[in-house]
Each structure stands twice: as structure tokens, then as C-alpha cells.
Symmetry: C2
Subunit: 170 residues, 2 copies
Amino acid sequence: MADGRTSGSISGENLLFLTDEQLRQGIEAMFFAYRGFTADPDRILTDMAYGRAHHRAIHFINRAPGTTVNNLLNILGVTKQSLNRVLRTLIADGLVESRVGQTDKRERHLFLTEDGRTLEGRLSDAQRARMRAAFRDAGPDAVAGFRTVLEAMMDTEMQRTYTRLKESGA
Amino acid sequence: MADGRTSGSISGENLLFLTDEQLRQGIEAMFFAYRGFTADPDRILTDMAYGRAHHRAIHFINRAPGTTVNNLLNILGVTKQSLNRVLRTLIADGLVESRVGQTDKRERHLFLTEDGRTLEGRLSDAQRARMRAAFRDAGPDAVAGFRTVLEAMMDTEMQRTYTRLKESGA
DNA sequence: CAGTTTATGTCAGCCTTGTTGACATTCCAA
DNA sequence: TTGGAATGTCAACAAGGCTGACATAAACTG
């Protein structure tokens, strides 16, 4: 199967979109598009002393204010030690506030400060601008397909996290 | 506009797919899906002493055998120093062969060895399997939309590279 | 055709961000 | 009340980005 020309052509249906060549194009599209996806916020971040990891933390703290470190860990899929380094700098720089939980004092609840929200807005605006342009160029049907495929590419665990965030949103 | 509810609702058309909330969901879908996209090859690679950078190099050398280092640099969008570290280990381990150009002796042309092709197959199979499952679940129309949006998300320079590769393919 | 400029690739060293291991604090249940 | 589980922090290391300095080959220029 490694170099078979079509991988799903056993059936009689029109499965030409499942040929290895089509899949490879999808893989490469994913690779190049992700670069574009991160390019604009990355540019903003390197001007300050931050990286993509800081952006991710800021994004999800903004999305779910008061979230715990542990919850953020599950969303981001990194180790707590790795996240901790990022959080430490964000807290030290006054962009994130960490409050000890009142019911469970082991927990730290995370919030963006005013400065944090300002930076979040800058980063979001940049990233959304590109996404908006892409969505508008592609049209609503293409966008629906885009999201369907992306969801199907996630692990079930990620899907659940994604859906939970989605539903908490609007 | 940073926290406006809709960003494109000036027009009378049905532009509800361009609301900030929809864009944010697209952003998060991209984030989670990319994790899934890289998860399977990553697992294979960490067993050996390689990382995602090695995978990318192997992928595109396989895609365009005989490519020069400089060409690969443009495709991957990293610095030559960064790529060089990866190439050096791949060559040392006998997965990639580097031949001095005959017309222009400054150039090095890159090829996968037999072992290199074997690893490439393993990685490709893993990544394609997930992509195939996602494509099949989503169906051909969704896949078309997926690719349309991803292409619209690339910089024009990347789009050109992507298209060139695509057309050289089948 | 000699000297300079350009193209290409390599080496050294730094930074971000991932990893594992060790540990302090807090909570809860036996 | 004490021992284990949960939560978060600190230290040290590895991968893979980056810039800067440099060697060599090719191309250009007077």
C-alpha cells in the first residue's frame, strides 16, 4: 500500500479524492497553510520577547477566563513544566494574573490583565484578518467543508475539547 | 473591530460565516487539527532519534528527488543553518545522499537512499492513513472546501510553491 | 585574466519550547 | 491523622528554530 496508486478504489464509487496523490496534496496544503496561519501573530510576537507558546496560552486564557493550569494543560497538550515557564514570564510581565483557588487552594485560576487583553486583541485581530480573507475568498460551502475535514482529523479527545470550547463560545 | 460581534455584516448577504466567533472556531479547529495531523509520524520519529524537521526534509526530498539544498530551503521556509543540521544527520545515517552538481559545482543535489525511502514510506503511510480516514468521513465536497480554504490561507509565495509541487505530482 | 562580487553550503553559538525528574503544598479518604 | 493523590514549581536537558562568521566555487568586471 505504501506506493499504491489508489488506496480506496476497491469500491465502485467515485473515490478519486482518496488517491495517494490527493492525500499527499492535502498533507502539503496543511503544511503550507499552517505556516500562513501562524505567520502574522508570530511577527508581532518576535518584536516582544515572546513566542508561539505565549500566544496559545493567552488565547485560551482569554477564551476561558479563570481556567486552571491543569485545564489549560489538557487544552494545549504540553507538559505542565513547559507551560509553567511560559506562564511565569506572562505573570512576571503583568499580562496574566494567577489567583489561588478559594475552594481548592492547590489550584491557580488564570486571568488576563488589562495589558494581557490588549495583546490578545492585537494577536487575534492579525490572525482573524487572514482567516477572514481566506473564508471570504472560499465562500460558506468551502468553509463548512474545511471545518468538517479538520474535525475529522482530530483525535477523539481533542474533538471533545474543541466542541466544548465551541459550545461555550456563542 | 477587535471585539465586534460580526465583522462582515455590513453587506446584505448571508455572511454569518464571517462572524468573529466563526473565525475563532476556525482558528481553534486549525490548532487542534494540526496536532492530529502530525501526531502519527511524530510517534514513529521519537522512537528513532528524529523529529518533525527530519520528516519534512525526507518528505520533500522524496517529492522532488535531486532537489538542491537551496530549493529545499525555499520550500521549507527555514534557514539553511537549521536545515543543514537535519541534513547532516540524515546523510550520516545513510538515509539521504548528497551529490555535487555537475553543471554548477556549488550545488548539492539530494536523494533518498533505499533506507531513506523505507522510512519515508512508513511516515507517509501513517500520515496518509489519518488523512484518508478524515477525507472519507467528510466526503468529496468537504474535501474540496478544505483545500480551497487552506490555499486561500497561504501567502502568495507559498501558494506558488504548493501549486508547482502539486502539478509536478500527477 | 586578476580581483572582486555573488551564490552556496558549513560551523559555532544563542533562544524558545518541548521533555523528564525531583519536590512542596494541599486535599481527601482510610 | 496520616498516607496517597492532585496540583503546581523548579532544575536540567534536547530539538530545532535563529543570526553571525566564514570557506569555497562560480560569475562578473575592469
